[in-house]
Structures are given as C-alpha cells and as structure tokens.
Symmetry: C2
Subunit: 223 residues, 2 copies
C-alpha cells in the first residue's frame, strides 16, 4: 500500500488519530463522493462552491461552464482546496459535549491543470460514468460547441489528507453518566429513490443500465 506524503499543510493537527495515510483510503473516499466543495480566494475572501467531482487515477476532475468564475480562477493558476465529505452517522452521546458525527472526508490542495482536446472529452466521460456507470455508452457524444462551452480541470492528488471517524459513541461512565440514557449511532447514507422518467420518454423505454446501477449502488450496505 502506498502512503500519502504528508507535509505541514496536510498533516491533521486536530484529532490526529483520525487521519488515514494510505493512498487507497483517499481513493476510496473520493470514489464514494458525488460532490466536492471547492474553495478559492477572491480578493482575500474565501469562496466555496459545490462541484460534481470524479477521481481519475492521480487526479480529481472538476468541470463547469467556461463562465463559472471559480473554475476560471482555478484554471488561471489560483490555488484551490477541494473537500469531499461523506456523512456516515449521527453519534448520539449522553452529554451535549460528546455528540459527534461519523464521517469520511478528504481535503485536496493544489493548483489544477486545465484539460484540453481528447483529455478533456475523456474527463467529461469519466465524470458522467462516475455518477452513472456506463452512461456515456448510452448517449451521444459531446459536440464541439458543447466542449467549447465547458471548462475541465484536474487537481493532482499529491497534497491530500483523509480524516475518518467510524466509531461508537464516546461514553464516560465515570463522569456522572447515566447508563439508562440511550447512546449509539444513527447511520446515514445517500439514498436514491425510484428514477422519474422525463415526460417525453415514450412508454416502453426501460430505465437504462447506468441508472439502475447508480440506484443500486446507494442501496447496498457500505461494508
């Protein structure tokens, strides 16, 4: 297993025992996420915007309109931070203080590179297939006009940190704690409902494999 390189910016200082340092754990968190919250600095003010995201090898892909200010700044060489969080549970304790959340989060720092040409077209397919496995083989490809209207960037994964809480509630029996007070975990997950066809889809057209796979993925217990 390869290890993530740690430096002053990626070493977790608060609750360091929650840091995971294996590269495979970073990949697992990014691969389970649909959205990254991406921060840039504008005139000294941080701005954080959600983007659909997908990992591709050693990079995190983000895309949007060529008119998207945050993405344009990132494409112009501004440093960004892309953070992904999977909320896995509410941790219910016996004091206000010990309430917490179970989660997996990844923070990726860096300067993204702009993708062009074939790399750009392929990246858009990777993002689409990440959310809907195999969808790109079910639909028409992007036109030149569509590609020209889209900005795609790739953030390298060489400065990243992963933090995970996956534990029961903290209970402290010495602390005047009442064992008769319920404590535990409420598991949380992102759940897909039944696909809703567009009104112009003719009767008899079945829900495609990509959509069924995306729905099924949310209904499978995680471990």
């Amino acid at each position: 297993m390869s290890e993530l390189p740690l430096d002053e910016t990626t070493r977790v200082r608060r609750l360091p025992e929650r840091q995971r340092t294996e590269r495979a754990e970073l990949d697992a968190v990014l691969d389970a996420a649909m959205v990254a919250h991406v921060g840039v600095v504008r005139d000294g003010q941080p701005v954080v915007i959600p983007f659909a995201s997908a990992r591709d090898g050693d990079g995190l892909l983000l895309h949007g309109s060529t008119g998207a200010g945050l993405l344009r700044a990132a494409a112009a060489g501004e440093p960004v931070c892309a953070t992904v969080t999977l909320l896995d549970g509410l941790v219910v304790a016996r004091s206000v203080f010990d309430h917490s959340m179970n989660y997996r989060s990844a923070v990726v720092l860096g300067v993204p590179e702009v993708l062009e040409g074939e790399a750009k077209e392929r990246a858009l397919q990777v993002i689409t297939d990440h959310l809907l496995p195999g969808r790109t083989s079910e639909v028409r490809a992007s036109t030149r006009k569509e590609l020209a209207a889209t900005l795609v960037v790739r953030l390298p994964l060489d400065r990243a940190s992963v933090k995970v809480r996956a534990a029961p509630a903290t209970t402290a029996p010495d602390d005047g704690e009442d064992r008769g007070t319920w404590a535990g975990v409420v598991p949380l997950q992102t759940w897909a409902g039944d696909p809703q066809p567009h009104h112009d889809v003719p009767d008899g057209v079945e829900v495609p494999e990509s959509v069924r796979a995306a729905v099924a993925a949310t209904r499978t217990p995680r471990r």
Copy 2:
C-alpha cells in the same frame, strides 16, 4: 417575505435564473443541512473543512475544539465562507453535456463572532437539537471544563446567496436527440438507517424521542 440583500459578492453570475433571493429560502436550505463546508485562507491557500452547522435566527452556528485551526482563524477575525449543499437528484440527459444535478445550496460570507457564556452554551444546545430534536432535554448539560474546550462562532446571514436547481432533465429534440433514450431524474436524499445502540445500553432502554424524530425526518418525502 423579506429579500436577501445582494451585492457583487452574493449575486449569482453563472445561471442567475437559479438564484433564489428570499430570506425564507436561505433559512430553509440551512435548516435542512447537517454539515457546512467552511473555507478560510491560510498563507494565501484556501482550506475547506466540514463542520456540523445549525441556523439560529440571523446566524449560522459552527463549533469545534479550541484546538481546531480553521475555527481559531475564524475566531481571530479572518473572513470565512460557509457553504451548504443538499443534493436532491441526478439529472439524466440524452447527451453527456446535459447531465446535471438537482440541488439546493447556500453560500454565506462573513466574519464570525465568537460566542461566550450563556450564548455559547445555548448555541451548543441549538446545534445538538438541530440534528436530534429535543436531545438536550434528554442528556446532562455541558460542564465548565467541556465548555472551556469548545469554540463556538456565529456567522451572520447578511451576506448570503442561495442557488437551486429543481427541474427535469434538459432535453433538446432538435439536436439529433433520440427520444428512445431514457432521460429523467434520480431523486437523492440523506437517509437514516435503524439506530444502533451503544453496547453498554441496558436491555429495555428505548430509542429516545430525539433519535426517532431525526430518523423520521429523513424518511419523510421532502414536498
């Protein structure tokens, strides 16, 4: 209905038709969220970290350890951006380009104030009860030591923007589109599983009202 004041930093430039400008819509998005992604600037580098969040009147409450660097920076007067995103659906289109997501997001910019004393203790109760309605009446209060170890800040809501996509797939029948290709929406929601009691909870202790309310909230269709 009161309107959110808009300025150059809170006016949505990309897809402005998705901007919602009523204050009640900001409140609704913040009240439906469990986590905010909070950005600060550190040595020119944006850093984005997830925090449990809860709205209280005209402020968004965030809390963490007094050892949490991001929160300390915020408490020291650094500008922050707190962004909340509710992912409502995968929008499945007939071209790679038209795939999208349905979502509600809120971006709050500002400098938080640090809460102390009664305001701090009350804020921690508000955050706890936001996630688990009524939980603070089921557990012991925070001790002075616990309060001293916790930093609580309140970000005013006077510089905020809300963006929503809640629409069917974009279909373009003139564009060589094949109506036989399925298009539609896959609804997404955060779903709570059955509460898992801590191993030291004695038999016969029932799941409390706060936990049942939190679970039920995730199982109620949104509209």
